[in-house]
Symmetry: C2
Subunit: 429 residues, 2 copies
């Protein structure tokens, strides 16, 4: 580790992993630090949460991915601090010196100052979140089957999803299909088709990042699946058996046992640490403003990429916190480092926007590929194809493809297991 230029990368998500891999044949010693021993393919996490795929299908052990990259090693540890002056990353039990630091620590879900909502309305960021949400969804149906009081049963069969971005839309669509198709003949006392699924969005349409026409399409697809959409609406209170929703002057109290949070995002706390140490500025979401080569002002040896970076140099607004941005930034930084060694200069980072896609149901999706905007079955196929191609391991591509095909033909979600410690606490959910 002491020979050569040492690049330390914090975070094994899309930004960090692609940066590591791009440094493969370059004259650097690379250390990738992550709290988890796997890279998680976030865009498919909602499919784990809805009992379609297994966690391992979308997670790739980092050591396995990098086993043949001789200049890279993996450290499984939590970063507690960054000592910018002495160029050291502080872990819980040791420190690692760096010549160059790439911080790709990502973001977490954010409850807008209502952190106590997290217990009542879990969000979807980790594998554990996904299996917890999966347990809550399927336990709610179990509890409804068991419940004889119609009012309580109704609350158990009500699902509120907060946030109409792509995660919220995908969760709502999947829930609609679970109620209408997957569980249709599973129960004897309830009709799962009676479940009501509410999607709450603060803006005036769902998928606000998409062109209005595609938002309308997505809305239509969701409504066909029985999802009720509330736009211009905010959740102002969450209780174990009720959600309060405000629209303009109207306040609605919805009896409900299962709330899923897909609304706010906040950058990793490492942003604050870095800002404090380097004098870099933070935006309201906790993201750090980076230079046009993704380094920090006055600290050319520190780069910030992915969800943690605010890169305003292209459009005046920050780039969205999505996988393609992080991937392109990871690759870009690797090239900057090589160019520096070769004394070349590199043009500012430019994000190539290849478009946005969200899946709405079993055979429908919306796609905005810039020139091409389409929806329905074709968009769904394109969505499947692009996600399959980008999955890291070949084994996972095969396993996911089979489970998708299986679901397409049978509408069966084989992974609807209720697991975890709270598995028998029906009434607590």
């Amino acid at each position: 580790m002491n020979e050569g230029h040492h690049v330390v990368i914090i975070g094994g998500g899309f930004g960090g992993l692609y940066a590591t891999q791009s440094l493969k044949r370059m004259p650097f010693v690379v250390t990738l630090v992550d709290q988890r021993n796997f890279h998680l393919f976030q865009p498919l996490l909602y499919q784990v949460a809805t009992g379609w795929l297994s966690p391992a299908n979308i997670a790739s052990p980092l050591r396995g991915v990098l086993k043949r990259q001789k200049n890279a090693s993996v450290v499984l540890a939590e970063v507690t601090d960054i000592d910018v002056g002495n160029r050291r990353v502080i872990l819980s039990e040791k420190t690692i010196g760096y010549d160059t630091l790439i911080v790709a620590a990502g973001s977490r879900l954010h409850y807008f100052g209502n952190d106590h909502w997290e217990v009542l309305a879990p969000s979807l960021k980790t594998v554990e979140d996904a299996t917890e949400i999966r347990a809550r969804i399927f336990l709610a149906f179990e509890a409804a089957e068991f419940e004889t009081a119609p009012k309580k049963r109704g609350a158990l069969l009500t699902f509120v999803i907060v946030g109409g971005g792509s995660t919220g839309v995908e969760l709502a669509g999947a829930l609609g299909e679970i109620a209408k198709d997957t569980l249709r003949n599973d129960f004897r006392n309830i009709d799962t088709g009676d479940a009501s699924i509410l999607l709450i969005e603060g803006a005036e349409r769902i998928l606000p990042a998409y062109p209005p026409k595609l938002s309308a399409k997505a809305q239509m697809f969701l409504q066909r699946l029985g999802v009720t959409i509330r736009i211009n609406a905010t959740v102002i209170d969450i209780q174990p058996d009720e959600v309060a929703i405000k629209r303009g002057e109207t306040l609605e109290h919805v009896p409900c046992h299962t709330v899923l949070w897909a609304a706010g995002v906040q950058a990793s706390p490492l942003g604050k640490i870095l800002a404090h140490a380097t004098g870099a500025r933070l935006d309201r979401g906790g993201r750090i403003f980076v230079e046009s080569d993704l380094s920090l002002p006055n600290h050319p040896e520190i780069f910030v990429i992915g969800d943690l970076a605010n890169y305003p140099h292209q459009t005046g607004r920050p780039l969205p916190g999505i996988a393609p941005v992080a991937i392109q930034q990871g690759r870009y930084v690797a090239n900057v480092l090589r160019d520096r060694i070769e004394k070349k200069s590199r043009r500012p980072f430019r994000y190539k926007d290849r478009g946005n896609m969200a899946i709405v149901g079993r055979a429908s999706a919306v796609a905005d590929l810039g020139k091409f905007r389409f929806s329905g079955f074709l968009a769904w196929l394109a969505w499947l194809f692009i996600h399959l191609v980008n999955l890291i391991e070949f084994e996972n591509k095969v396993l996911v493809l089979i489970q998708w095909a299986w679901y397409y033909f049978t509408r069966n979600r084989g992974a609807r297991l209720i697991t975890g410690d709270k598995r028998t606490h029906f009434k607590a959910c």
Copy 2:
């Protein structure tokens, strides 16, 4: 639920599920009660614990399996008591009356009066156990990579498996392959091939239920994988960083961080409740002595099957607590019930022993099929085939087959995720 003869079945394992399914076209109303919403294919659980398969691959949602069986319903609940006098099963929040009761509540692992060992030496019974053991195994390698003191590193790379039955042998073989093959190039500071794996067996050979020749074969296969076998040995103490093993007069202290328990088994506590209520006798393992038709003495309306039953009528000794016994007993009881309605009598239950098989490694197993006893690659293929055929859902058959094939060719275990709450507590493992 109030029409017709009501059969309540406690437990959705092999015995309970096969009993339920065998009652399909018979004039009964069937209720299957289980604490979990899925049937678990126990024989493959060690493959989840060793990062080969995902939990959902070997778990089948009970409601899904029974969705087309109109006379059956599933109740997800814990049985707290059985009211034999009033023929009622008491659940945590309601009661269910029965005309006939089939108790197939199975067994749990047993620490011979050392229940405090459970935290230090988890056993393999539930999906949660499997993911916990998986996390411990792979965290131990991570911690060893991080550790610089050679002695501590050695302890982190030492794995002790207590119990040389088929689960212990399968775990030991899998651990050998993880160390020698799967992780071979994953680490930079340690050579995972240095890991020492100890298999502790109290009897004079491993796999004592098999013919001596096959035990010897299994021992040879394991030794090739670098597993050290201690026979006539007992674990007398487990500490977080040390295990005390007694052989005759010798006491050995093995520095070790990861201990897996595959030794004793104790029947479900429902056995005690039933014995108390009906006057039936229990054996030392908590199993209930049943009549030759698997019912309880003086209680022809109560049957006990599977691991919870002690059936001595065939060989004078209890039948082993394995899946084929439970399956055959479940089917038998369904036939007894039909015969009773048709006023026919049925001969006593007889277990047809089709043999025993244990897998030892990537291409080796031992099989004792009565007339045929073989080992090696052919036994391994037979093992794979039989387990694949018996997996409940078609989708799982395909997914498992692909993962087995993948492993066979690449020796890669794709599901080696470290998940769960304690994921960052390296030093605690």
